[in-house]
């Protein structure tokens, strides 16, 4: 049994000479919200399409619940609910009629599934309004209703808040959070909006030009980005021992052999430097730093702006 609901190994999609997704190793743990963050054309939608078997990878493998997707679509895809790109429904039908069609195809056993799904996203059940008359926000809600109607274990949502007004975005956020916390769903959500992902996701993958630059939990990213004193020393292991023994300080992290971050800003930094030097350590830099998540993502992706 795999520890991941979704796992990709070396997933690559190439169109002509251009790699849309390159050597992607994605890991999504059960019961987590995974935010795939990347700018336009980064490869988010292509990745999601490959996870759903809508696009055939050029190379690499997709594993869902530890089972390779190719050849097992009939058993794996019914366990997934998805929203990829713009919502697609029959314009001549109402929301209920549209969902009824997909419920019939999916063989949804619950008679109230359609009503429940529509209520969940705040759309009326027996509404006479046709899909063609829906606003973008209503279409998006209906697409979410379709994704959750058959009570899937995994949700793959490509920019689900697109087209929603600010209140709708907040509602959608709390709705997705509830799905994860109360119903134990695993959710993969993509967005180009950092604030949206940082408010929602447990784990974050940063995708840029088809390459997964970083995959980390939000907690670790936030820990790394909070205000701290940065020491550049010749030996971080010895510096850490000095902090613990002489200053009873444990709120620090070792970045590498030479960089140590101290998160308690009330400590006497000058005395610490003196202690380091007295113990034979070279101190080349001491500064107070604060790196926001946005700064971090800018740095990781090469410095271009984000929403």
């Amino acid at each position: 049994m795999s520890r991941y609901i979704v796992e990709t190994r070396g997933l690559t999609k190439q169109y002509g000479t251009q790699k849309s997704v390159a050597d992607l190793h994605l890991h999504i743990a059960p019961g987590r919200i995974y935010g795939l963050l990347g700018r336009n054309g980064a490869g988010k939608t292509t990745t999601m399409k490959m996870l759903l078997g809508l696009t055939r990878p050029t190379s690499g493998e997709v594993f869902l619940w530890g089972t390779p997707l190719p050849g097992h679509e009939k058993e794996l895809l019914p366990r997934i609910g998805s929203l990829i790109e713009a919502p697609g429904f029959y314009p001549n039908l109402t929301a209920t009629e549209n969902l009824r069609i997909f419920a019939a195809l999916r063989g949804v056993p619950n008679r109230h599934a359609i009503r429940d799904a529509l209520e969940l996203v705040g759309l009326p059940y027996r509404d006479k309004k046709l899909f063609s008359q829906y606003s973008m926000g209503m279409k998006q809600r209906l697409a979410i209703a379709l994704a959750v109607m058959h009570d899937p274990e995994l949700l793959i949502l490509d920019e689900p808040t697109n087209g929603l007004d600010p209140i709708g975005i907040a509602e959608m956020r709390s709705f997705i959070r509830r799905l994860c916390e109360e119903r134990g769903k695993t959710i993969l959500i993509s967005s180009h909006i950092l604030s949206e992902i940082s408010l929602l996701a447990d784990d974050i993958g940063i995708l840029d030009h088809g390459v997964l630059l970083e995959e980390e939990s939000l907690a670790v990213l936030e820990q790394n980005s909070r205000k701290h004193i940065r020491f550049a020393v010749s030996d971080t292991a010895r510096a850490a021992a000095i902090l613990e023994q002489q200053f009873q300080e444990t709120a620090f992290s070792i970045q590498d052999d030479h960089i140590l971050r101290l998160y308690n800003l009330d400590v006497p930094a000058g005395r610490m430097v003196t202690a380091f030097v007295k113990n034979g350590l070279e101190v080349s830099e001491v500064c107070t730093c604060e790196e926001s998540l946005e700064d971090h993502f800018k740095q990781v992706t090469g410095g271009e702006g984000i929403a």
């Binding site: 759903l52 679509e73 998805s82 429904f89 001549n92 009629e97 180009h192 929403a307």
Partner: protein, 257 residues
Amino acid sequence: MHVVLAELGKLRRYGMVKAGCLVTILAALYGFAPALARDGVQKTFPLVMNNLLESNCIYFFPAMIVLIGGCMARREYTDNTLKNLQTVPLSLRRLLLGKLAVLFFMTVGFSVLSFLLGTALCFALGLPDAALPALAEWLARIVAGNLLVFVEVLPLTLLASLFVEGVYACTAAAFVYGFFASMEAAMLNYYPAKAVLILVDPRCGVGYDFVHYSPASAVLTLLAVLLGSAVLFALVHPGQGLNKVKSPKKATRAKGW
């Protein structure tokens, strides 16, 4: 079965169903028009229904069936619903089979409508020989004729469904294909569109002593078409890459940093 039920559900308020009804009405009027001519010929119910049968099989139903079949497949691309169906998962072949089954039922429905319209017009004009056996016979002939047209154009319907960008080209081809059935020649024994008329039209070849149509050849021709369609369906993969049709009204989503 689920696919057929779902396809039936998609027909509610569907424009192509309305278009089909309109074409059926036009076919009925076209078939009925000669009944109003003062040409010295005694107008009877069988004569008008024969006209109706011919107008259906030659001019209207071949193109209509291909158009509706192609558009039913095309809408999955234009309405952007194909991805939803594929993640059910539902294979494109099963989807097309479901659509063909529904198209078959629609052909029956339009045939019955055609018969009812023709009959109503005959009754309105008070034409003779509209007894119950004649009504039953012509209902059977019209439904059978149009179902054989369904078989006759099946390769074109399949092509229009498999390569949805070619729907209108296939529809035009179907019209020309049906139109040639209005001609008379011995070699047309093996022409599928003519084969339909040979089997259901009692006036087919009447007055043309130089041609002798064989119902056996007609049956063989239509069976060959059916077999060819099955081979086409089995061999040609409904390639997504070949179908680049997009909805002209597709909403643009604001994306990007």
